[in-house]
């Protein structure tokens, strides 16, 4: 049998009831659902009752302040908003216990050990050193609040009709907000606690072995061999988190996923992947479980977060760019691999790495194709997150337009926020919100790609062109984890919608998601990318670069994305919905 034939799994395609406990697609769903259900019980069902009271009180103040002052956001308005933002069900005792198990290595600069362990003496010395700065920042904050209050009273006294006084009040309130941020950061630096991640990492390792081991056991594989190998994969994943937390790498946006591949490939292509690790290289299992957990974060009510302009910029432009880039890759560039084409197109147009992972899994792309898409995204994101804000500032583009442009085009969400912050707070708010709306598109993209692949691409590849594909055939080939992913999204969207925006943020966003599914998904992806790295040969990867077509596809698609997003953002924010632009 040739190598090519060995690399292809022949499946008779018939669905059986036993698939429910024998196939990893289903096990990814069951494990993901267990995580979400557990999170629902801990963070939502047991959520503090006092949250509702705070939310209602804050909203009453904000409504009254908005009616009283249409010109600028008053101190009372912003304070009430802060009170809502502070509500987090993951800060409960149960939430903190869950977080302890999921802790990842922390930030460090020159000594990697700082990522895992910081002694009490070191912390005490650092806190003592930071205290004067914290006291100074606190003093500045008090002074800034006094000035802002006086300026606001002056503007109010003139009936908000004096433009000069209004502008002065707005500027002083902005300065007070900045002082608030600085004071909070300084206070944080002066109240650090000792760190010892070893017990929590050992616990996470044990939980991981049991969690994935149940699925492995039911799928009929050797659990002991898996457990031994899992230790190796886990250690490499921990190292990936550590490397992603290094301060310089952090600035460049090279996160744990990229480091997991780098570390894995480094081992695999130098000393070779140890044989005992190989039974635990379950890339698909980890990635699909991570994607079902990610489903909990795909909350449909987020798409109206910035009203009409957000929907047009993120949900109209993005699918157009995705489809046209794919067609361009097939018809003009003649990309030999459709899976690589769609993975890069989704990565570039939707939301970078997360979209690439979901799309690659939905269309069954090869691991080298996903690695390549990730690498491209990493390089271009690093360029765009520095170049775009510099260009926007240089040409004097309005903050809202610049923010929307960045949000709709830069791949990674973190890079979007950083690029937006480079311009102003307003630009960052708009950029991050547009990106968040675009993030939600990941569910629709994964479903659409899975459906297109099972109904069109795969039948063509199997020589079934011209024959009608039955529903059962589609079902048999459809990647089942996508159903779990969408069910998780649908369930959490329903819960979130039922709670209302503010309560949803406190219980779902800052509870179920922030406290459980998001860190759980990070661990799953780190394990998956470590597995990819440990099983990837440099030479195999080079084949996919041939002719530079992936780079060309990315550049052409991104150029089109930049033009269309800018045009749509301008029309929506300045021509169709100017009232929204004026108030954000």
């Amino acid at each position: 049998m040739s190598q090519e034939q060995q690399d292809i799994v022949v499946d008779d395609g018939r669905a059986r009831w036993s698939d429910l406990w024998k196939k990893e697609d289903y096990w990814a769903i069951w494990l993901g659902f267990v995580v979400i259900l557990f999170g629902y019980i801990v963070f939502i069902a047991q959520g503090p009752a006092s949250f509702r009271e705070t939310v209602d009180k804050s909203n009453r103040i904000m409504a009254a302040e908005s009616a009283k002052n249409e010109v600028f956001k008053s101190i009372e308005y912003l304070t009430a908003q802060d009170a809502k933002k502070k509500l987090r069900s993951r800060d409960s005792a149960a939430g903190k216990s869950v977080s302890w198990f999921l802790t990842r290595p922390g930030r460090w600069s020159s000594n990697p050990a700082d990522s895992f362990f910081v002694s009490g003496d070191t912390v005490a010395a650092a806190n003592e050193k930071a205290k004067p700065a914290a006291a100074e920042a606190k003093g500045k904050l008090e002074a800034a609040l006094k000035e802002a209050t006086a300026a606001q009273q002056a503007a109010d006294g003139a009936g908000l009709k004096n433009a000069e006084l209004n502008a002065d009040a707005e500027a002083k309130i902005a300065a007070w907000r900045k002082a608030q941020g600085a004071s909070s950061k300084a206070a944080g630096a002066a109240s650090k606690k000792p760190v010892n991640l070893i017990p929590s990492l050992l616990s996470a390792l044990a939980v991981g072995i049991v969690f994935f081991g149940i699925g492995i056991c039911c799928m009929g594989e050797n659990v002991v061999k898996f457990a031994l190998g899992f230790v190796g994969v886990f250690v490499a994943a921990v190292l990936a988190f550590m490397m992603g937390a290094q301060s310089t790498m952090h600035t460049y946006g090279i996160g744990s996923e990229a480091w997991a591949i780098i570390i894995g490939m480094l081992v695999a292509n130098t000393v070779g992947t140890p044989n005992f690790i190989k039974p635990a290289l379950k890339t698909e299992f980890y990635i699909k479980t991570g994607l079902v957990c990610l489903g909990a974060e795909v909350l449909m009510d987020k798409i109206v977060a910035i009203g009409g302009p957000g929907i047009f910029v993120a949900w109209v432009v993005t699918p157009i760019v995705l489809v046209l880039t794919f067609i361009f890759g097939q018809k003009v560039l003649k990309m030999p691999s459709k899976t690589l084409n769609i993975t890069i197109s989704a990565d570039m147009s939707v939301c970078g790495t997360s979209a690439a992972i979901a799309t690659a899994a939905a269309c069954r792309a090869k691991k080298e194709e996903l690695t390549l898409a990730l690498g491209l995204s990493l390089v271009f994101t690093a360029i765009m997150m520095v170049a775009m804000p510099a260009f926007i500032k240089a040409v004097g583009m309005p903050d809202v337009l610049g923010g929307a442009w960045i949000g709709g085009t830069v791949d990674s969400t973190g890079a979007v926020a950083a690029a937006g912050a480079f311009i102003s707070d307003t630009a960052m708010y708009v950029a991050a919100t547009i990106k968040m709306i675009q993030n939600v598109l990941i569910g629709v993209t994964a479903f659409g790609v899975a459906l297109y692949w099972t109904t069109k691409v795969e039948p063509e590849e199997m020589g079934m062109t011209g024959r009608k594909v039955s529903i059962m055939e589609i079902w048999n080939r459809f990647p089942k984890f996508v159903i779990g992913f969408l069910t998780a999204s649908f369930f959490c969207s329903l819960v979130s919608g039922g709670l209302g925006t503010d309560m949803s943020n406190a219980l779902v966003g800052q509870g179920l998601v922030g406290g459980l599914t998001s860190p759980m998904r990070s661990w799953c992806f780190a394990l998956a990318f470590t597995s990819i790295g440990l099983s990837t040969n440099f030479r195999e990867l080079a084949v996919y670069f041939k002719g530079g077509k992936p780079v060309l596809l990315y550049v052409c698609g991104q150029t089109f994305n930049l033009i269309l997003t800018l045009a749509m953002a301008y029309v929506m924010f300045y021509k169709v919905f100017p009232e929204v632009t004026a108030k954000i």
Binding site: M249, K302, A305, A418, Y429, G509, V513, S522, E540, V580
Partner: protein
């Protein structure tokens, strides 16, 4: 059916006992790779930040705000919560209040 990740995983693993060169050569390759990585991390990457003004400004903003540029999804970026609150509440309270007063 083409399987995504796992089918390629096992056969393509560089197999330690068989693949040339021998153990000392492979250890040397690992040491060289780690050396290169350390050089990039501790020398080259910080040097680029120090020498290129746009990168330096960007680094300052990242450090000041605490944003994680490598974050994968919106839920990993706390600043998204600020953005969402700012925009949602602006539409919910301020745009509506302006419409009412007209």
């Amino acid at each position: 059916m083409l399987n995504a990740f796992s089918v390629h995983a096992q056969p393509s693993c560089p197999d330690s006992p068989l693949s040339p060169p021998g153990r000392p050569g492979r250890l040397l390759r690992l040491c060289l790779a780690l050396g290169a990585l350390t050089f990039v991390m501790y020398v080259l990457a910080p040097l680029a930040i120090a020498l290129l003004p746009p990168l330096r400004d960007y680094d300052r903003v990242v450090r000041e705000t605490g944003i994680m540029p490598g974050a994968l999804y919106y839920s990993d970026v706390p600043q998204t919560v600020d953005g969402e609150f700012n925009n949602r509440d602006a539409i919910r309270f301020r745009v509506r209040a302006a419409e009412k007063s007209r």
